[in-house]
Subunit: 296 residues, 4 copies
Amino acid sequence: MGASVSFIGVGTMGGPMARNLLRAGHRVRVFDLDSRLVAGLEKDGAEVAANAAAAASEADCVITMLPRGEHVESALFGDQGAATAMREGTLYIDMSTILPSHCERFAHRLRAAGVCVVDAPVGRSSQHAIDGKLLIMVGGEAGDVDRARAFLEPLGDTIVHCGPTGAGQKMKLVNNYMSIALNALTAEALVMAESAGLDPEQARSVMLGTVAGQGHMGTTYPAKVLKGDLTPGFMVDLAHKDMGLALAMAGELDAPAWLGAVAHQTYGLARRHGRGAEDWTAVYAALRETAMGDER
Amino acid sequence: MGASVSFIGVGTMGGPMARNLLRAGHRVRVFDLDSRLVAGLEKDGAEVAANAAAAASEADCVITMLPRGEHVESALFGDQGAATAMREGTLYIDMSTILPSHCERFAHRLRAAGVCVVDAPVGRSSQHAIDGKLLIMVGGEAGDVDRARAFLEPLGDTIVHCGPTGAGQKMKLVNNYMSIALNALTAEALVMAESAGLDPEQARSVMLGTVAGQGHMGTTYPAKVLKGDLTPGFMVDLAHKDMGLALAMAGELDAPAWLGAVAHQTYGLARRHGRGAEDWTAVYAALRETAMGDER
Amino acid sequence: MGASVSFIGVGTMGGPMARNLLRAGHRVRVFDLDSRLVAGLEKDGAEVAANAAAAASEADCVITMLPRGEHVESALFGDQGAATAMREGTLYIDMSTILPSHCERFAHRLRAAGVCVVDAPVGRSSQHAIDGKLLIMVGGEAGDVDRARAFLEPLGDTIVHCGPTGAGQKMKLVNNYMSIALNALTAEALVMAESAGLDPEQARSVMLGTVAGQGHMGTTYPAKVLKGDLTPGFMVDLAHKDMGLALAMAGELDAPAWLGAVAHQTYGLARRHGRGAEDWTAVYAALRETAMGDER
Amino acid sequence: MGASVSFIGVGTMGGPMARNLLRAGHRVRVFDLDSRLVAGLEKDGAEVAANAAAAASEADCVITMLPRGEHVESALFGDQGAATAMREGTLYIDMSTILPSHCERFAHRLRAAGVCVVDAPVGRSSQHAIDGKLLIMVGGEAGDVDRARAFLEPLGDTIVHCGPTGAGQKMKLVNNYMSIALNALTAEALVMAESAGLDPEQARSVMLGTVAGQGHMGTTYPAKVLKGDLTPGFMVDLAHKDMGLALAMAGELDAPAWLGAVAHQTYGLARRHGRGAEDWTAVYAALRETAMGDER
């Protein structure tokens, strides 16, 4: 028989997640500031609580899925907050995306009361939430993470333990940093193609055949810099030159090229690090030196 | 029997390309300012010319593969330049990567003398040049491009006709804009992971399972904005919020985040265009509006 | 005879500010989490309180001068926070630099208890704090701001009422946005001069004779865009071209040029807005359109 | 009696400059591709030449004032270019703004023929050209620059010898880099003020009272980093924090903040260099290290 789960925050993502916990056989008590959101869940078998503290009361596991850190703080430590109802040994899983330093601060307060804390923000889309196929990035102590699996497995098909408390948030933010910036870059490239009079569909098709569309993480990086080989397949100096040409073309076309303008500067940094004649993936090595203070 | 080809510029890329033309049965006459580069080709059966004009003399097809636009200009129009030796009907293929506006300027001068001009810069690496498996992006009139195929097919396995003269250069620069900036972004994401105390290999593995590593061109774009569906799978506003968190984390970690900082501004632009509640791929639609002056 | 003032946060800035209030004849009760900081003030005649609530008790005016919004929140609303001790009509002045939206949130909670709230962050340096010559940017209702003057005048020689609660913070952040980014830009220009083999002192001297060193706010802006005159003294198109040259030079020199690379894109935006042939100050008009949605 | 001067390029800037040389008593022969531009000058006493070579023939001094490097190249070395008419000892002054590396290339070719070469691009506006009050930044050998003064003094009131050939161009581009980027930054700050609901005129007035409006070159830099004093008046860490707040505010307001977003990263770089607790002008020292490879 399932455990008793409190689910706080049942919007676009939290709603289907709570439903999947019900389907998995757990007893689920839900709370949301927006009372319209809980109605459907009540029909599906969830118990509805009047506030966060009531939801959390006597639960084996308390889950929050809220938009921002201040909502989490308020749901935990505000008036009638869940923290007042959590006991020694209660498992608390925050699945919201918040700042890792906030996550660590909340965890610190809860642990003082004996609560076991896990952060488990999710990746992918609302459709994946419905299908129980989210990507879940988890931070916490090994024992707590193991306990959490019973509640995470109905929600996602990929559960990655990334390190101690906060590590789930960190992984989520690194992943989203990449995908969100990449979207802006992709937009620039396709707009530039069209501004140049090219067929943007043909441009997309060409790029899908190169690292432009396929990315570096599964191609050039494992083949070169990640195995310590910086003999040039394509030189930093040539990439710097080609980006200069692309920016000059964009300037003539009045095509927006914000990210490329900045990336050009990153190659300048790699050249200043004496890496002009190395493989272009040496940009990673150069940037790493500036951040970590040593060489790879 | 093969045609008579003049190949000017036989360095890291041009050398193996000239060799592949020899293998395909063409008579190849080579020239390079660096005389050491031509020696090996002479052994392989190439004829060596004393200057660009001599190389181009009586050739059916003249190919240049040079580092910069000023080298191409000099090889064509400088002292003993190839232009003086090209006749009405000679096919000239520039495979260098140069500014499209320079390409168009050179073509204009050559066409006045009846020369047929095609630009055909290449993608991929020096190993692909050796293997005859380059990506070749071609600009020029259809008839000229058809004539050029006999000389391009020994060099590459993907030949894309992108439009009129200069279009090959434009496609090349758009492709390289994307791949070169993406390299800098990839470096930032992996350095951020490590600065956050995450295992960078685990981070890479997680991202290879999401659009962070797989890119948007073959995933979110065809699923959403390119088919005109901007109902949110992941909202612009949420992407804006998550990037804000990622930048705040990077600030706490002192991790470099230049491209993300700029991308955050691009999402601000999309929000100012009233697209905050649309799918994040609406960033493309917003950027396109600023450049093309209309809506998609 | 002076009023009773509670001063919370007596570090590098707050310490000399509290001292100036003592000199002006006020009775000052101080509190700081770092007890070493209060010792000197006690000698100078301040009363030392054990916590924020004790400091605020029966004060006519409570002032906070703390590093971050979370410190202000904690000093006000945490355990033994000042909010518990403030009465109907107490004047609260926050002189910390915090996010305007946080400022507005705190003000909202305090006003519910009848407290009069003013934000008054300061500009200039710690030496100015000692000399009582700070720049003070004030937000709040006119009556409250008038009451606050008795406490602000001993601290600064320029007191600017910027608007309702939060407006002081907004002015401060706009001012610091400008001065902080300008510092990074100044560094780039002087490093570029030296990278180019110029004497950086001569470069500084030349620039002090132009808007490069004197700024636009008191020169080109009032002469052109702010009075609606966009006939070109120096055209957007030429500025775009010159920045392109400067960036190409920086690229050849490997001089860092991050801000200029981005500024070049801003001129591209102005050109896309049809402002290429207008005065370069039209960049302001173009940027304003993207943000405010109308023309100036 | 005046010398014989050839002036090539008599547009918005060159026209009034040629007129000032006539006024100073020189015999001036002018050429411009746009024949409408020379008509007025002919009335004022200039002789009109049919091409650049004819203009340069038998001149003591040849001056070019053209929009781009390719125009200069063409006026010198194209068909009927001025280079063919310059003799041993002719003084050539290029007052156009072009890439220093192009300037050096042209000078190299002309010196082979005994021509004395000086670059002398100008600053300030077209009104200053009319008034003979330009800022002239000069590069060249001391003897050549001394000869050039007779022709530059009628044109400007500030003549700065910046170093060998090309140094004038370098100084011009550094100056314009700063002033052009500063314009974009100024626009952002004023738009941000208005987006925040502040009176932009009041914001401008406040900033004119701080380094935001006055600049760092004549204030904080000579007071701190340039005399080797990095004890903090305002700490790098605090500037980093304040910029973070300003960017967060801009994000909430949807105000464009491209340059500030990038400048925030520059402060991150200074922090990674261990300069967080130093004066904010240490950003210059940190950036200089990345470019020059040593400490100041």
